[in-house]
Each structure stands twice: as C-alpha cells, then as structure tokens.
Symmetry: C2
Subunit: 175 residues, 2 copies
C-alpha cells in the first residue's frame, strides 16, 4: 500500500510554514490501518521481542496493535505526571523549554528486548528520550518503528548514529 | 483469566481516599493484554462494526488493538486542542469546571456502527460525552467496552439508562 495516499497534509499547522502530516485518515481507513500495523510487525519478524513501548499519545494506537499482534506486553511511555505508580523520567529539549517522558519503575524486566513505536519521527527528541529512559530501566531497545519519517529534520539519522535500528513506512521530504 | 489479579491498586491516588486501578500491569503482561483485547473483541463477534473509537489516552492502547483485530478503522476521541483538522467537540462536567472531547469533522461516515473503547468506566462523564459526540457526527454507537467497571460510581448504569450496551471485563466495588 502507498501510505502517502492515506495521510492527510495540513498546511500551516501548528504554525505558519509547517506541513502537518495527519495520520487520523490512515487510522480511520480499515485497509490502511491494518496494512500499517502488519508492516510494522513484519519488519521485526524473526527477532526476539519481549515488549512494545509506545510514545504518548498516537504511539499508543499503533503500539497497542503491534504489541497485541506480536503477542507481547505494552509499555506506555507517558508525558510528565500521568502515571500513578513510582516513575523514572527523562527530560528533553523543546524549541522553547523542556518536556519529560516517564515510565513506571517496574515497567521493564531488565534484559528485555523492547521495540519502540510512534507515529512519526521528526527531530527525534522524544524518541531519543524514550530510548534513554527504557535503557536506564534495563531494556535492550532493539529498534524504533515509525509510520512517517521526516528525513530532512534529521531525527532518524540521529537515532542511527546512536546505533539504533530505525524503520518507517513512508518518508516526506521537507517539513 | 482473572483480570483482577493483574490490575494494580494504588491507594490515595490521585488524592486521599481514592483507590486507583492501574492497568499498566495488565498491559505489560503478555498473556493478560492479549486476553483482555481478545475478550473485548469476542463480546462483539457477530455484530457489524465499522469502526472503533478510543478515548484518549489509555483507550488508544486497547482501542487500537481491538480495531486491528476486528479489521476496522480507529477513531481517536481526543482531548481539547489536540487534533490538527477541523473538529467538533462536546463539553462535559468535571468535579471542578469542565473538559472537552473532540473528533475530526470527517472522522465518521454517517450510519457507521461504532464501538467505543476505554480502559475504565467510573462516573461515565467522558464516555457519555464521547457517545454524544460520535452520534452528533452521524455514528450509530453500538456499544461501549471497558476493561474495568467501578459500578458504585454509576457510570455504566447511566449509559445503560441512555439505551447503550455496556460491557466490562472486571468490576471493583467501592471507589
């Protein structure tokens, strides 16, 4: 499937000059949603995966389906202050200020092979924070799987330079 | 599976006197996560379902997996200001103040049978707002599926009084 045809582009969102790639049109299309999840799973067939971690919030939709399809557990990597039990967190830089992702202190069984899932990789700040956090908790992050890559923003290259396997289903040039 | 054994209870969260039911322990358990998703799907086998809607954010994890398993599309019902395209929204009352859920104006094909999924039903405020919103967009909401019901808080009864089919995998008395 050509996933580009089912991803909507919204100009000037969230601010002028940005082309926002909207995957709700992909998610709402039964064939495209199934094909995207199945393609994400297929890329990691034959590798031992113990858990899927998803980045809040769109990574939950895809990551939940991927985890279920792989028959493994799901670990939510949440924004600051959303988890009820004791947490560890990792700060990361935004254009202005910082943000933070968190997991429960017992979310990871040390040594587990974890696949990180999100809808899109742009500059890679959130994904990098998620990887650092999962590794600090003892995970072996075996790869990062995205639907969309915006290669001109350099996030995927940054993750690869850190030794991470990165896959995406579609790439949009520009940003 | 006895889902109660894989749901963690956190006392005094988010405030004194509340027993918070934490499903991250269920999600992280491969057998329990698979069994929960499969049980949610099984309850609606034989009914025509065109799409699954999930309430942000935990409803995305379960709803994404249920939609994929059913082979239908997924509709994110998001908190205020999160969706990039034009939206319709529905306000609902909180203990103090109000909140709002939103969907894209083109999220629903009018007449589609939609199953609403979330992790937990308590007072039912968010679920009711989600149902109202989906119906205003033309959906035929054929049921609401939760992992956890807190029956003493009356949400499931409120939805049933509105004619809605409500299912849950486990109930905790008290709140």
């Amino acid at each position: 499937m050509d996933f580009k045809t089912v991803i909507r582009t919204i100009p000037d969102y969230p601010k002028p000059g940005i082309l926002f790639r909207d995957i709700t049109t992909l998610l709402g299309n039964p064939d495209a949603f199934r094909a995207a999840v199945d393609a994400m799973v297929q890329l990691y067939r034959g590798q031992k995966i113990d858990a899927v971690a998803g980045l809040e919030a769109r990574g939950f939709i895809l990551g939940g389906a991927v985890a279920h399809q792989l028959g493994v557990g799901f670990i939510p990597v949440r924004k600051k202050g959303k988890l009820p039990f004791t947490t560890i967190g990792e700060d990361y830089a935004l254009e202005y200020g910082t943000d933070r992702v968190e997991i429960h202190t017992d979310a990871i069984t040390p040594g587990d092979n974890v696949l990180l899932v999100d809808d899109l990789i742009a500059t890679g700040g959130t994904a990098m924070a998620g990887i650092n956090l999962l590794e600090r908790a003892g995970a072996n992050v075996i790869g990062c799987s995205f639907v969309i890559d915006l290669p001109d923003l350099g996030g995927a290259d940054k993750l690869r330079a850190r030794g991470m396997a990165v896959s995406s289903l579609v790439a949009f040039e520009g940003h």
